[in-house]
């Protein structure tokens, strides 16, 4: 009797699952923002430990450049930058996590590429950080350019754009190398530090963190000069929810435009009284930008007040005083020779 009951149960379970499962994850316009508001917090996919971009401190509080962009989105939606839950994702986990709806947005060192945009069902917001493939090497080895790495063992993470870029960089120059591909970041860095590999390759922006925090004596190591590939790092959302995509995109532009108009976390309150119509529109004193995006009209004020302009965010994590200081180079405003160009917010 027991067995027959069970088989009946199986059939019922199959039917029930059929009814429930049919309404699985699907991104329609408006769904994500409504879900985030109902949940009361934003789920943001970040790197588990990349100094400068995203890393938890000893109390478990996340900080970093990309972490701040998650805070900026939360500030725009809730008027409260703290309403974010961070989900640490490995490079393998990141795409299934956004596809399945486990996170609302990925701010996890994702390079925007054509195949990711199409085959993965993603949409990329404007890049928030421009970088390229970099190589960390030991000074004692006398390596000065990538050609000197012929025959070297090179440590890298699996499934990254870096893995492909290195293959192309070396093939184009007729060089050979032995890839040592390790997913676990700790093991990867350890393999380089102990000398298993002659070079460690990652995005250029990620290497100063390794050099500063993971090597015994940072002065023994150096990054190869020159840019060998394009790595525009951008926030990614699921395809199909245009409203959510718009919001993430314009939060990004808002940080660019805030810097361009001279707004900072420190002066935003007094600037609110400015007569400049651009500033008034941006801060929601006039116009209805926020309403159009489905959030409060003071959304940019909340972003700048609680998180900051692009400059504030950049200087906080990569400024001269930070342990992973990086020159702004391409990550400067277009008016200063960089690539950051915020679309007009009219």
């Amino acid at each position: 009797m027991r067995l027959t009951n069970l088989s009946g149960l199986g059939a019922v379970a199959a039917l029930t699952l059929g009814l429930v499962g049919a309404t699985a994850v699907e991104a329609n316009s408006g769904d994500t923002l409504a879900a985030v508001k109902a949940r009361g917090e934003l789920l943001c996919g970040v790197h588990p430990a990349r100094h400068g971009f995203a890393a938890p401190d000893s109390q478990g509080n996340w900080s970093g450049f990309e972490v701040d962009f998650c805070h900026a989105i939360a500030a725009a939606i809730f008027g409260d930058a703290s309403k974010v839950r961070f989900v640490a994702l490995s490079s393998q986990q990141r795409f299934p996590a956004i596809q399945s709806g486990e996170v609302d947005v990925l701010a996890r060192n994702v390079t925007a590429t054509l195949s990711r945009d199409t085959a993965l069902g993603l949409n990329f917001a404007p890049p928030i950080f421009y970088t390229g493939t970099g190589f960390l090497v030991r000074k004692a080895d006398g390596i000065e350019k990538v050609e000197d790495l012929d025959g070297a063992a090179i440590c890298m993470a699996p499934g990254s754009t870096t893995e492909r870029n290195v293959a192309q960089i070396f093939a184009a120059r007729g060089l050979t190398y032995t890839p040592v591909v390790i997913e676990n970041n700790k093991q990867l860095v350890d393999a380089y530090v102990t000398g298993r590999c002659d070079a460690l390759t990652k995005d250029k922006a990620a290497l100063p963190g390794v050099r500063a925090f993971d090597t015994e004596n940072p002065d023994d190591h150096m990054m190869l000069p020159g840019i060998y590939s394009k790595e525009p790092l951008a926030m990614a959302v699921r395809q199909g929810d245009d409203q959510w995509y718009d919001l993430v995109k314009w939060v990004t532009y808002a940080t660019f435009n805030a810097e361009e108009l001279g707004l900072t976390q420190a002066n935003v309150d007094e600037m609110k009284a400015s007569d400049d119509p651009d500033i008034q529109t941006l801060l929601g004193v006039i116009g209805d930008n926020g309403t159009k995006l489905g959030v409060d009209n003071t959304w940019v004020y909340a972003i700048v007040k609680q998180v900051g302009s692009y400059e504030d965010i950049y200087m906080r994590h990569f400024g001269p005083e930070s342990p992973v200081a990086l020159d702004r180079d391409q990550n400067a405003l277009w008016t200063e020779g960089g690539l950051l160009y915020g679309f007009p917010m009219q």
């Binding site: 027959t4 059939a11 499962g21 991104a27 393998q92 085959a119 069902g121 499934g159 990254s160 591909v181």
Partner: protein
């Protein structure tokens, strides 16, 4: 059922249905079919759901990606491979690496496991305790920690420039074990053929010797003639080809060594980790097998003055193997599956490469499905081969 009385001649029609439901035939066949049908339907439904949701989210599906160009390099390959080959070939490279590290691991685990297992039942107190300590250590530390431990040990060996020289035969460094290798020569293929012929000849000779023994009762020791056949034939071939003895010596050059052959640190660390872990279990299986042979059998064999070697070979082993082989099979299968720990230390096995493929194409469902099916096939083939061997060594009831 309480009102059912046996031996009633005529049953009202309503009872027939109930009888049918409770009949043995109905229960064994119809319910089984219904359950199987439900499982198939559920599987089909889940599949449909995945396909539909993926296409609704504009995520690529299907196995077409296997034919696309991979654009990434792999550190160790047994077959030719470059970044211009396909994802399918990259996965094949990963499978070959999985198989090679598993095969080496099985050999090492078996040799160590049998040695330790025999030491466990030794009458020498010291040997017995050493074996016990070994088993308790390797069996009770998670295999992933053992693999990481060996990886760390090897990484902390000296760099190639300060590599340890092994009596002029090779080098040991954090780039692995590099050793000299004879320069490829046509004689090698013939020597391999001679080795095959030697093994076959030794087997035939052994069989003839056994027939002779069974017919006449006179024993011919075939140990040394066999060794002579197996080693002598290739040696004669080598001499016949003018004894080509050019060797490729590894030399320090640039970052690494040129010439010779290299076993990578990841291969050694992974192989050591999974093989030593399994060897602890195999040792216990062997001990159990030996102890399962009744003591009287050994004593009887001794009483008829059988040599110790023959006691092991003709009395103990045939009875022990039938206890040893089935659990040994599951150890082999679990060793193969443990090789997927490669991903932690960066050995390019099937899972490591599958991860990369998954990430480059974004087709997680398909990539995982490929890996699961491949592991299933490899494990099943191992089981079938071991079951075949089990049938060979099992006691034949006559």
């Amino acid at each position: 059922m309480t009102d059912a009385t046996p031996g009633r001649a005529a049953k009202p029609p309503a009872r027939r249905l109930k009888d049918l439901i409770y009949s043995e035939f109905f229960r064994t066949v119809i319910y089984q079919i219904a359950l199987a049908g439900a499982v198939v339907l559920l599987g089909f439904y889940l599949y449909q759901n995945v396909v539909e949701n993926l296409s609704r989210q504009n995520i690529a599906t299907g196995f077409g990606f296997l034919k696309e160009v991979s654009q990434f390099e792999i550190g160790e390959t047994l077959i030719s491979y470059s970044s211009r080959d396909t994802y399918g070939r990259a996965l094949l490279v990963g499978l070959m690496n999985t198989l090679s590290v598993s095969a080496a691991g099985i050999v090492v685990a078996t040799v160590i496991g049998f040695s330790i297992g025999i030491m466990r039942v030794s009458s020498n107190w010291l040997l017995q305790r050493i074996a016990l300590t070994y088993v308790e250590i390797v069996r009770n530390i998670p295999v992933i920690l053992q693999v990481i431990f060996w990886a760390a040990v090897i990484r902390n060996l000296p760099a190639p420039r300060q590599a340890l020289e092994l009596w002029g035969l090779g080098f040991l460094s954090n780039r692995g074990l590099t050793f000299l290798l004879p320069v490829a020569d046509p004689a090698h293929a013939w020597m391999l053929a001679a080795l095959g012929i030697g093994i076959v000849a030794a087997l035939i000779a052994a069989r003839l010797a056994r027939r002779h023994r069974e017919a006449t009762g006179r024993y011919i020791d075939m140990l040394w003639p066999s060794v002579g056949l197996i080693l002598g034939l290739p040696l004669l071939t080598w001499l016949a080809f003018g004894a080509p003895h050019e060797l490729s010596f590894p030399e320090r050059q640039g970052f690494n060594f040129r010439g010779g052959a290299t076993i990578s640190p990841e291969f050694v660390a992974l192989m050591a980790g999974i093989a030593l872990y399994s060897s602890g279990f195999i040792a216990e299986i062997v001990r159990a097998g030996i102890q399962a042979t009744p003591r009287g059998q050994v004593e009887a064999a001794r009483s008829i003055a059988l040599r110790p070697r023959f006691i092991l070979r003709y009395v103990v082993l045939p009875q022990a193997l039938r206890v040893i082989v089935p659990p040994l099979t599951s150890q082999y299968v679990s060793l193969i599956k443990n090789s997927s720990i490669a991903v932690v230390i960066g050995y390019p096995d099937l899972v490591n490469i599958g991860n990369t493929v998954m990430n480059q194409t974004g087709q997680a469902v398909e990539a995982i499905a490929v890996m699961m099916v491949v592991y299933l096939i490899v494990s099943l083939v191992t089981s079938i081969a071991m079951n075949f061997y089990n049938r060979l060594v099992a006691i034949k009831e006559r």
